[in-house]
Assembly symmetry: C2
Homo-oligomer: 433 residues x 2
Amino acid sequence: MVAKRKKTATEPRLSTASRKWKQAAESGAVSSGTAAVDAESFLNRVRELKREIESREAAKQRFILQQSSDASSAARIEVRELDCDQVLAELERVILSAAKSILEGRGLSYKVPRRSAGNQEYVEELERIVLKDGVAIRNFASVASVRKTTIMTRVLQLVHELCTRRIHTTKRDLFYTDVKLFRQQTESDDVLNDVACLIGCTRNSLNVVASEKGIVVGRVTFQEDGDLIDCTRMGVGGKAIPPYTDRITNITSDAEFILLVEKDAAFMRLAEDRFYNRVKCIIVTAKGQPDVGTRLFLRRLKRELHLPILGLVDSDPYGLKILSVYMSGSKGMSYDSANLATPDIKWLGIRPTDLDRYGIPEQCRLAMTENDLKTGKDMLEEDFIKKNPAWHRELSLMVKRKEKAEIQALSNFGFQYLTEVYLPEKIRHGDWI
Amino acid sequence: MVAKRKKTATEPRLSTASRKWKQAAESGAVSSGTAAVDAESFLNRVRELKREIESREAAKQRFILQQSSDASSAARIEVRELDCDQVLAELERVILSAAKSILEGRGLSYKVPRRSAGNQEYVEELERIVLKDGVAIRNFASVASVRKTTIMTRVLQLVHELCTRRIHTTKRDLFYTDVKLFRQQTESDDVLNDVACLIGCTRNSLNVVASEKGIVVGRVTFQEDGDLIDCTRMGVGGKAIPPYTDRITNITSDAEFILLVEKDAAFMRLAEDRFYNRVKCIIVTAKGQPDVGTRLFLRRLKRELHLPILGLVDSDPYGLKILSVYMSGSKGMSYDSANLATPDIKWLGIRPTDLDRYGIPEQCRLAMTENDLKTGKDMLEEDFIKKNPAWHRELSLMVKRKEKAEIQALSNFGFQYLTEVYLPEKIRHGDWI
């Protein structure tokens, strides 16, 4: 049955193709999984994108170098990934200077970078949020800060133990090591972020990690804690991305790009069809909101393999939000943004303009709720949307039409439409923004 | 600092051991990951349990055989796992008989097993919920059932397409293939369960699967869609369990038991410490509420490897609920219980009596909310708790004390207390119920 669709002024070519494919699929003329991706020119647009990204990357590096040699520019706090020995050395430096201060009669205190919103800024050239140079003094002799100072000292000791033993733990476990002192997990979590800023390292460098959620499949191999992992041989379920990437080494790949997928249903389709063998790519998903483990992993892939990243998300404000979290980091951990953010992700789909171009029937589109609309309107004002006119146009259209759609809406044309038609079309035409 | 603890009349030996271990850990005397699991006798209790389970399994088989030869016993609907060709044959049989009925002037109708609560029962000998033999006639000529009958016909056609192409899809994708007809996903989901009952197969046999959530690590290898997966070489992140197990073949293992873990934080600790190399086991988690994929996988492991399963969950009513879902299935899919349920899981910990035995300080225990207490009290009345007096005692104690605790509470004694002391102690003493 051919889906009825809205008449619009946009390009009707693809929706005709969709219709034909649906008919072919229903009559059994499409043989599953074998549609070869032909022609030499198929990957031209992806390769162009790769060159473009490389030259932008070089420009950014020049900007960073210039900044660091330019003493007049605003100081910023950017933390680095440190190994256990480096963290231990920094911890010992902090404690030594605290001990010295006590011996000299000035008492125990720590100088902690402020992480409040007023001390944050979005840096256009770096494409991410960073901390400015505001600092707070946390003093043991003050009634207002005695508790925080005590908690800080305890957390420093616990992190020292983790790094000495070279093991990882979760924030929850850390909290339970001294509930009497911490009282609430928010308190130990909060101080943990302070400690990362104080040491000048990422939270993961402190060996306190979030739980894992992401999975990966496709054309990449690496060593994980000594085990060789070949992600083309991970069956249909894929490999669970570990919560910490410091055990991952020797990443190699012959992929042309990374396909970042919002939802596991789409991931499952791609994995079962072994899409990565037809179009050489690496497929990553965090199953919804990106967790720290997946963000770190994506960033490692990008930094070591220099591949373009194409995002496949729902056509709703949350899909965009998810891309933005991967790209510029969340505000809560802005000090860590350099190490978690992966700038330059292209929005492949599902985009509001796709709904008409691919002739997605009205029944598969959903009305946006009041809340969706509010989120969409707020996002139109955000820096990361404003600086990308094409994204701004798409989001404006979404808010104007008050329509959203899930990746699954493509199933209207058949179960394998996503892997057999939609993605190959998109990639061939370089249809990302 | 030694945690203050409640004075109780219970065995203080272990809590003293806990305290000593904590002191040793804090003074650096415990070397991480190397504590060898000595003595030949260490696994005696696990091996005893294995023999016990095997003999019970044999008794159950005898019961099933006797039932099927005993015509007077109540008829029950139990679906089987079928492969694509078998499902296709059944689908064609159903449609053929429908066509015949139309040609004979009796119109289109389907005989669908009832899945309502009144048609369910818990079978003690089988240790799971099953469907009784109530049947409903779904008639196209009746105004009340015309819509359901139409949806049913469409779902039969879609499942036929999936099985012909030998691909899997999610319930959400299935819904989107015909939103105009289905209107709500609940309607297509509901009919899908009916189709499974009608065909006499599991929902997964229809190639419509839930999304994946679980991970596995440890001493097991298998083929997944042709790829050899060795779960001892899956780094620290583990292998994602696929949403369908029909692509998994050739399971082999030298493990002594399966450790089923509620939470990913505990899983992470076990994986990083490579606990499975010190005590040969397979470690599985669904990260909270078990999904169908993980339940199917666990059942496959149990059925093919005949290993005891030890459950490590939070000491609260939800921890127990999770064990019960693995063991006897959820009510919504009772027709499928035989293929999803893994009876005979032992409750290793954290148990209410552990809180005192291991001297878990009061600060690490949490007060149960009104809701927790209600859930706990309701569970005391349920069959699966009542038939196991030891579980009933523990749950009664929990409700009486109004105290719960998470697995992470063990971190109070040190980050690796779980793998270095708690689990080895439990296993050595056969301390499960």
